[in-house]
Amino acid sequence: MPSSSPLLIENNNSVTTEASRLVGVNKSYGKGNLALQVLFDVSLTVKMGEMTFLVGPSGCGKTTLISIISGILSANSGEISLFGHRLDTATDKQKTALRKANLGFIFQQYHLVPTLTALENVAIPLLIDGISEAEAAQLAQDALHAVDLGSRPTAYPRELSGGQQQRVAIARALSRNPKLIICDEPTAALDGKTGQRVLELLKAVAVKPNSAVIVVTHDNRIYDYADRIISMNDGRIIGDERPHSALRGSFLPPEPPP
């Protein structure tokens, strides 16, 4: 399954560029006495060509962390880079531009616009970029095709199953060919089988030598698809492992979920 395995070897040799790098990041919500620190001195590097999982108990700060990685939330201290660009010193405008150029998002609740067709939903990021409509329609159709929904461009979200809706969301995240896709609980609303299929698809279409995927999840049924699993607890990183060694991953079938 993981066609990206040769890359893993390369990754282990650490020659690829980094998608994201965090050094000593602290984050609190609120101010003064009411301040609640949720991230403590988090340092982390996300590599290209990998699907990185971020796991941990509820409230441990996973969502906060990916919000900071993607530059839609500011940290209180620490260094944050996205594809070599510093986010902690960037203006909102610069961060928005970086997001536009590099990121795709996938959410637990899909966040599709119910009154727009699949194709229109997928085209939105492109339209936001100011791409011409004809071109946007073509690219969106290609993206739908990549998630096996090429035959349903005119379907409305309510006419699609949960898995299909999440695939539309994947197509939307893919449509402008981002280098990093960030997913928050992408399978939480799906049943086990569907969740696995969605993840498999995501890995196949989104993890390439020059791109990476970060998946925040509770769902241990999909841990198999992870190239790397980072565990968090109480705002700290407590574990960082590669479930299959690079060589194992490329030659052996994945182990069944625990």
């Binding site: 969502t63 919000s67 936001i128």
Partner: protein, 418 residues
């Protein structure tokens, strides 16, 4: 394609089945050429939520309808107060200083007429009589009428352009009077045959014969109007010391009417006003001394408030429900400006539709009144729909304000909260 001669059936089919897609297609093309893709997406989001869309349009329609309809009734009433002044159409009115509006006649002495004529700068000064009188109908009932008398030689003040039957010269013959259209039914000898030219009736025990018909709007009291010469009008009234109601004046060519009016006021102790000043005085009285404007004001304000509340509430829920999507757009890099434009477009679109339907319904209401020939005053000056338009736009902007603030404040991080 099958190229046969078009039959009635195919023509019909074209009309009903093709016209809608054709209109739709051209409409879409038009939209595409005017609106950016994101703006059209905003419209699709709006139209897609049918229930909210209709609630929004209904709220704004209600406001627009109420503003235009109540406003028209109000303006209709205002117009009734001044219609007699406008119909008479002379540069200067001279009256008793206590006079407040045209039906509030405080008679003058006929010598006042001669005093005014002797004032420098006066081109002409004519008597004008306006009093209530009574017609005795053959049935034994009596009918109040508005009796108007014009200068016997010149008939100055008679709305000659509104004459729809008869000739002014006929007023020279004995007992001759003009009446307005409404009088024809009210003064009919019996209910089946309305009065017409040549009909005769009794007024204060004196014979009157209809020789002409005038089509003028009703005054505030809305009695049938009987018009004749000043001298004959006096004979249709119980004898009184003072008969003259107003003196109508025109300045000499080189005279400013306002200056002349001031001079007449100063020299006679009477009140002389230009037509415009008199209209203003009348409206002032109406606005300050009757409860009517307040009542209308309250109704209109209530309508606007209810419409605004309904649409603001609906619009806010609409935005809240779309907040996740807006946050997603933001996370994907859409600026607040783009989102605010989308919201404004949505608000103004429902506003325009609601305005159109509301003003349309109000006009329909007016047309129906006109057709039914009711006495309800209904007058829509062009300013009213314009005012209504701005009111609706303001309501829309206010309604969307909450949503706009919400979207501007929206942190893209909100995308991740489930």
């Amino acid at each position: 394609m099958n190229r046969t001669k078009p039959s009635v059936v195919s023509a019909g089919r074209l009309r009903y089945t093709k016209l809608i897609p054709i209109t739709y297609e051209y409409g879409t093309l038009l939209l595409e050429s005017v609106l950016s893709a994101m703006n059209r997406i905003a419209l699709k989001m709006l139209f897609g939520d049918r229930l909210k869309f209709f609630t929004l349009v209904a709220g704004l329609t209600f406001s627009a309808l109420l503003i235009t309809q109540q406003g028209s009734i109000f303006c209709g009433l205002l117009k009734r107060f001044i219609v007699a002044i406008e119909n008479t159409n002379v540069p200067i009115w001279v009256m008793d200083p206590e006079n407040r509006f045209i039906d509030d006649v405080k008679p003058l002495q006929e010598t006042d007429l001669y005093r005014i004529r002797s004032i420098g700068g006066v081109g002409w000064a004519m008597p004008y009589l306006k009093r209530l009188s009574q017609v005795q109908l053959p049935s034994g009932k009596s009918q109040n009428v508005q009796l108007i008398g014009y200068d016997s030689q010149t008939l100055i003040g008679l709305p000659t352009t509104a004459i729809i039957a008869g000739n002014v010269l006929d007023l020279n013959s004995p007992d001759a009077v003009f009446v307005d259209k409404k009088a024809l039914t009210k003064l009919a000898a019996n209910e089946d045959t309305p009065a017409t030219i040549g009909s005769v009736f009794e007024m204060e025990d004196k014979r009157a014969r209809i020789v002409g018909i005038v089509d003028v709007a009703n005054g505030f009291q809305s009695f049938p109007q009987v018009m004749t010469t000043y001298d004959r009008a006096k004979t249709y009234m119980p004898p009184q010391r003072k008969m003259l109601s107003y003196v109508l004046v025109s300045p000499q060519d080189n005279q400013d009417p306002e200056e002349l009016a001031e001079r007449i006021t100063k020299q006679t102790g009477l009140l002389a006003l230009t037509q415009e000043q008199y209209i203003t005085r009348t409206l002032d009285y109406f606005v300050h001394n009757t409860g009517i404007p307040i009542n209308f004001g309250i109704t209109v304000m209530l309508g606007v408030l209810i419409g605004a509340a309904v649409s603001a509430q609906t619009f806010y829920t609409f935005t809240i429900e779309n907040l996740k999507q807006f946050a997603t757009f933001k996370a994907m890099g859409a600026s607040s400006g783009v989102l605010v434009r989308m919201i404004l477009l949505q608000a103004l679109t429902v506003g325009l539709i609601g305005y159109g339907i509301g003003v349309g319904l109000a006009s329909l209401f007016g047309a129906m009144l006109l057709r039914a020939g009711t006495e309800l005053a209904y007058f829509t000056p062009w300013q009213l729909p314009v005012l209504c338009f701005f009111a609706v736009v303001i309501v829309c902007l206010l309604s969307s304000l909450l949503s706009i603030v919400k979207v501007i404040r929206l942190e893209p991080a909100a995308v991740f909260s489930s």
